[in-house]
Amino acid sequence: MIPLADTSFVEATWVMIVKSLVIFGVVFAILPLMTVLERKLIGRFQHRYGPNRVGPFGILQPLADVGKLLGKEAFRPANALPTLFVLGPLLPVLSGVLALAIIPWGDVQHGVGLYGIDVPIGILYFFAVGSIAFYGVLLGGWASGSKYSLLGAMRGAAQLISYEVSMGLALLGAIIMGGSLSLVDIVHAQGAVWFVVPQLVGFLIFMLAGFAETNRTPFDMPEADAELVQGFMTEYGGMRFGSFLLVEYMEIIVVCGIAAAVFLGGWMGPGPSFLDPIWMLAKMLGLVLLFIWVRATLPRLRYDQLMSLGWKILLPLATLNVLVTAVLVVVT
């Protein structure tokens, strides 16, 4: 029997608290830097500078943005549903923070595992918690009482069912090779060769589905600023809108963290073991740069194009990938 509710590693409560505070602090320090990095890079991709006025090299731009958002009125449309409207931006933040817990930043060092928690169902936990974020999109769109918000939410729902299956199947190949659902075990299994080499198809499918999971270009249909005026976020303002934005970047960090752990060998890298979290961070940053690069390049896909991509191409490819992996693993 698989011990589903087990944690393979027990620590003192105060260690857990300190760890969660550190992870939370570090990630929330990275988020604003990511926004400014993205804006600067997108600018460079378009022959511009991007923000460079606030602070040295525009590095204080997020501070100014948050200051502006905090100063705005928390407005609610008259025909919005009060409770759900407030709940909309809160649920995704919760889901993002929860998903951060399983990203492995390093191995057990000096009796402390450099991760929030190592659950044996790691990747299942990621899917379970990650799907809560979608409730933010759906509730936000439904409760806003606006047709554009509702359209955005509906698109989000249709998008979710077309990529989520392939996303799971893409990871399944790596899970079969690693022989475990726990992210720490999967990283340990990549000692010889990173899974991105044998599981290249899985990696590509996971990244594609990751773009859809984080509602990023080319799959930013729930937002679709050109046609749906930000979709489910239309009626939100102030820090509620800010928290939707925050969640988008947090989801990018989570997806990049999972991809780095499952396919890019997690914390593995040359150098002494205290460099492990740096390696993990560097790999995540590389994937974040890929996200930004793709955003600067691709236009938004049409609604039906995403559907046919998800169902007709990604799903058969991912299934084939899993089948071939399973057969090879059994044979060798």
């Binding site: 890079l41 600018g43 191409i313």
Partner: protein, 180 residues
């Protein structure tokens, strides 16, 4: 080619169609095109920004750029070139130049001619920078300069007097090298 008996053979052009979209080949092509797009944007990144950081860097103007007017003096004698003939005011389509002439007194000559401009005002909030005043002037006393930063908080401050027009501009606008 028998479908079009009324057309000569060389008039019939067969349309070349691209491959049908969709299917596995379509997905493969889309992947390739995506990579091509990524290469394109990366090339833009490497080229670097083209932005001119305006308040610090300024766009150079051409030598014949029509900016704020300047009144001139003779370089040797220091006398004003303007003789107060009001031809510029007559030529001005937006009626923004006001000239009041006065007789030169021997001993304290202001201009080289018989008369001089006692009052010379240009209302820059009305000026359309057409350059007709420059063309109308028989003595090249007024020319269009290269200054283009003339925003102000008060309309009254945009009425430039003779002293202001005679003075050298505080900061020269950069000039394009080649020009014409």
């Amino acid at each position: 080619m028998t479908e079009f008996p009324y057309l000569k053979d060389q008039d019939v052009v067969e349309v070349q169609r691209g491959p049908e979209p969709g299917g596995a080949a379509g997905a493969y092509r889309a992947f390739g095109e995506t990579l091509r797009g990524l290469k394109t944007t990366m090339a833009r990144l490497i080229e670097g920004p083209l932005t001119i950081q305006y308040p610090e860097e300024k766009t150079p103007v051409y030598p014949r750029f029509r900016g704020r007017h300047k009144l001139h003096r003779f370089e040797d004698t220091g006398l004003e070139k303007c003789v107060g003939c009001s031809l510029c005011a007559a030529a001005c389509p937006s009626d923004c130049i006001r000239v009041v002439a006065a007789e030169n007194v021997p001993g304290e000559r202001v201009s080289a001619g018989e008369r001089f401009a006692a009052v010379y005002e240009i209302n820059l909030s009305r000026c359309i920078f057409c350059g007709y005043c420059e063309i109308a002037c028989p003595f090249d006393a007024i020319t269009m300069g290269h200054d283009y930063e003339m925003a102000d908080y008060d309309r009254a401050d945009l009425i430039f007097t003779k002293e202001m027009l005679l003075a050298e501009p505080l900061e020269r606008a950069p000039l394009k090298a080649g020009g014409e």
